[in-house]
Amino acid sequence: MELFKEDKVYNFLGKGKIFFVASFVLFFLAIAIVAIKGFSFGIDFTGGTVVQVKYTQDAPIDKIRESLKKSELFEHASVSEFGSSQEVVIKTPSSTVALGHDIGDTTKEILKGTGDFEIRRVDMVGPKVGDELRVKGLSAFFLTLLAIMATVTFRYEWRFALAAIIAIVHDIVITFGFVAYFEVDFNIESIAALLMILGYSIHDTIIVYDRVREHIEESKETDFVMIINEAVSRTQSRTTLTSLTVFFVVLTLFVFGGDIMLGFSFPMLIGVIVGTYSSIFVAAQLVVWTGFSVADYRQRMAEKVKNRAEKEKMRAQYESGVM
């Protein structure tokens, strides 16, 4: 089966302005959503306690809420269904420092009499830990960006690297705009998802860049726009197929992974879609705007080849004792 006619060159850049406007609008819309709504940070970042309770019958949510009012630890607690009607999750911004008797034990005592239940999970994070995590998460993110910038510059050119970074930031901002909009819990898994999207986005972008580089080196085409159109068209089939397979697996994670994986699977799901879009319509397009010149690149390549040849010639001469 074939989805795309490989020999046809689609004019992606001809529609460049439309995609630029679309990306621009989405990007700033996402920033606005994050700014207005903010993230619903999970306890990994804010500190607090999450208790997951499973009842043998349907969970009596009202009764649970009523019982929790007894303790000031649960003053700002929320109770919500989790996965099934038998299971609830209690979240509270409070945490306790005592080791012997903690908030989990208190919960168990309070819930006595609400029915037959089992406490399946107690996650408690002190306020200090959350701060550390935020710092670590952000530094990991920026360090990864730097590493990508360095490798792409080394293997391609700094303009490619710059465009790739802009594309990555574009993908991540839009993805997390969705995360904020749908009020998905932002947890440590979301940081992992963020770094994965980053990896996926650069992966896709590099496949396209590799084609661009190949065309610059091997064809006689001097119009950079044409080169990019050709590269994107030629990789179109691969980009779509890979995105589909990755999308399939992320979708299964989203569907079967349950609420516990949501902080990871939801951003991944959006990230794959946005990442695919940006590697087709944004990343290569951006290189054009950075003022990349095919002629200059070829000249530099030629010089490199010339230098290498010269060196080899010198060495040959030296070895044969001419000098």
Binding site: V122, R238, T245
Partner: protein, 526 residues
């Protein structure tokens, strides 16, 4: 039909055998061989990050120095005007200036203190260096103590390790019930600080009307009875000796068959204890544990041999845990919980089921898609992905890495990415075939051209994983590990392995020229 053996297919075969062989113990739950360790989120267990109140370590250091000064002066019959201490210094006054020489001699042996003497007034302050050293030691001591206690508690392979500068990571797998978890936590948190203290018999009668400040002014402290908080004891605030001189503690029974704890002291402790009891016949001795008086028997005669008992109304289980705590040493500093995650085994099982379901269904979708789209090339790619999965599992078992829930997600995600290398290669081969290139050259060029792109992107991916590993906490680290193993394995299976398979069948492919069957192309090749 001749099939051609080549080095690539040999490598693939070796990789396949390696993967299957080393992942078999985990997959088939065999008795022998290294198995994958499941993370606490998958098998259930308790994960805690404990903080240490290091500032308390210096305070208790000061207290023990004060106790040794008291011991020394009492032994040498040196009379002290007063002996005071606060959080970082000890001060005292000599009644007889002639004793200054003696005491100077003794103070020389006390390490890490700056001594300043002004006539009969002495004051000792902890040096900054010693303060840091004491705090560091207190964490090491806490780690050691917690580890000892958990080892004796009988849980399999508890993890107790330092994390960062001031935190201790405790991980307990295989905790089945909430009750068991609470018991483990109580055991860890127990200070188990045993002190033998002298009751201030001169003022003991007034204990119920005395304020804490009054008691302090006499060099005393008011302590409550463990069973009956109304009952108060007035004891000298500097203990005769503490749990540091304990050599053993075990559970025993009294004459009424009630559990109690027997303890023995080391030679130094036995001597101090003997001397004290000899001097104090007729007075009471308070056995104080974690600031509560457990008993205060009368001293009838000098007690040598250095052994004693702590009675109280415990259950057998409590007495056993308390003996463990005493035996493994007291926690010199209080610890507190910074982070706790506990997962019940049933939830862990649910998570495994959910992620396996995601893994299998994701896998089936990808396979179907690949075979539908690429024909036999899709089958070859599928084979590569399966081998890839085996290799990931084998490497996790061999390296002793832990498989966590995010790690499972990493594997699921990897399936999607692993076929990418094959997609890139297949697309390249199709391109060559469309251009009318002979099939063997189309394959060779396809691999050669695809290689550069695959390498470039995989290197950046591995970089991202390395950073994720360096900055992530436990569970995230697992994710980074499985994903980077997957990337490495896929380079082997997709670039080397599948190429080997094509070479193996090359003469056949060249003969049938059926590119629809082999590469899923809709147009027949030239």
């Amino acid at each position: 039909m001749r099939m051609k053996l080549n080095y690539r297919i040999v490598i693939l075969a070796i990789a396949t055998i390696f993967g299957v062989f080393f992942s078999a113990p985990s997959l088939l739950q065999l008795q022998d061989g290294k198995k994958i360790t499941l993370g606490l989120d998958l098998q259930g267990g308790l994960h805690m990050l404990l903080g240490v109140k290091t500032e308390e370590a210096t305070a208790s250091r000061i207290k023990s120095i004060a106790a040794s000064i008291k011991n020394f002066t009492e032994k040498k019959d040196i009379l002290l005007g007063n002996l005071d201490f606060d959080d970082s210094s000890v001060s005292f006054t000599l009644l007889d200036a002639d004793d200054a020489k003696h005491i100077q001699e003794f103070l020389k042996k006390v390490e890490g203190m700056t001594v300043s003497a002004n006539g009969e007034n002495f004051s000792l302050t902890l040096t900054e260096e010693e303060k840091i050293k004491t705090q560091k030691q207190s964490i090491d001591q806490a780690i050691e103590t917690i580890r000892n206690r958990l080892d004796q508690f009988g849980l399999s392979e508890p993890t107790v390790a330092r994390q960062g500068n001031e935190a201790i990571l405790v991980e307990l797998a295989g905790i089945k019930t909430v009750e068991e978890e609470q018991r483990a936590r109580e055991l860890i948190s127990r200070a188990a600080k045993l002190e033998l203290m002298a009751v201030d018999e001169d003022r003991a009668a007034r204990v119920n009307t005395m304020s804490a400040a009054d008691a302090t002014s006499y060099g005393d402290v008011i302590l409550e009875d463990v069973k009956n908080p109304q009952m108060k004891y007035l004891v000298h605030s500097i203990p005769i000796l503490d749990g540091g001189m304990l050599t053993n503690a075990s559970m025993g029974f009294d004459q009424n068959n009630r559990p109690l704890i027997n303890f023995t002291l080391n030679a130094e402790g036995a001597e101090i204890f003997g001397d004290f009891t000899g001097r104090s016949v007729g007075k009471r001795l308070a056995v104080v544990l974690d600031g509560k008086v457990y008993s205060a028997p009368n001293i009838n005669e000098r007690i040598g041999g250095g052994s004693g008992q702590i009675s109280g109304s415990y259950t057998v289980e409590e007495a056993k845990d308390l003996a463990i705590a005493l035996r493994s040493g007291s926690l010199l500093v209080p610890i507190y919980v910074m982070e706790k995650r506990s997962v019940g085994p049933s939830l862990g099982a649910d998570s495994i089921r959910a992620s396996l379901l995601a893994l299998v269904s994701g896998f089936v979708l990808v396979i179907l898609f690949m075979i539908f789209y690429y024909g036999l090339a899709g089958v070859i790619a599928t084979f590569a992905v399966v081998v890839n999965l085996f290799i990931i599992l084998a490497m996790i078992s061999l390296l002793g890495a832990t498989l966590t829930l995010p790690g499972m997600a990493g594997i699921v995600l990897h399936i999607g990415l692993a076929v990418d290398a094959n997609i890139i290669i297949n697309e390249r081969i199709r391109e060559g075939l469309r251009a009318g290139v002979p099939v063997s050259r189309a394959i060779a060029e396809g691999y050669q051209k695809a290689m550069r792109a695959i390498l470039d992107s995989n290197i950046t991916q591995i970089l991202a994983c390395t950073i994720l590993y360096a900055y992530g906490t436990g569970a995230i680290k697992g994710f980074a590990v499985t994903l980077s193993m997957g990337i490495l394995a896929s380079m082997l299976t997709a670039i080397v392995g599948t190429y080997g398979i094509y070479q193996f069948y090359m003469s056949r492919i060249e003969k049938d020229k059926n590119y629809t069957l082999w590469f899923g192309m809709t147009r027949k090749g030239a």
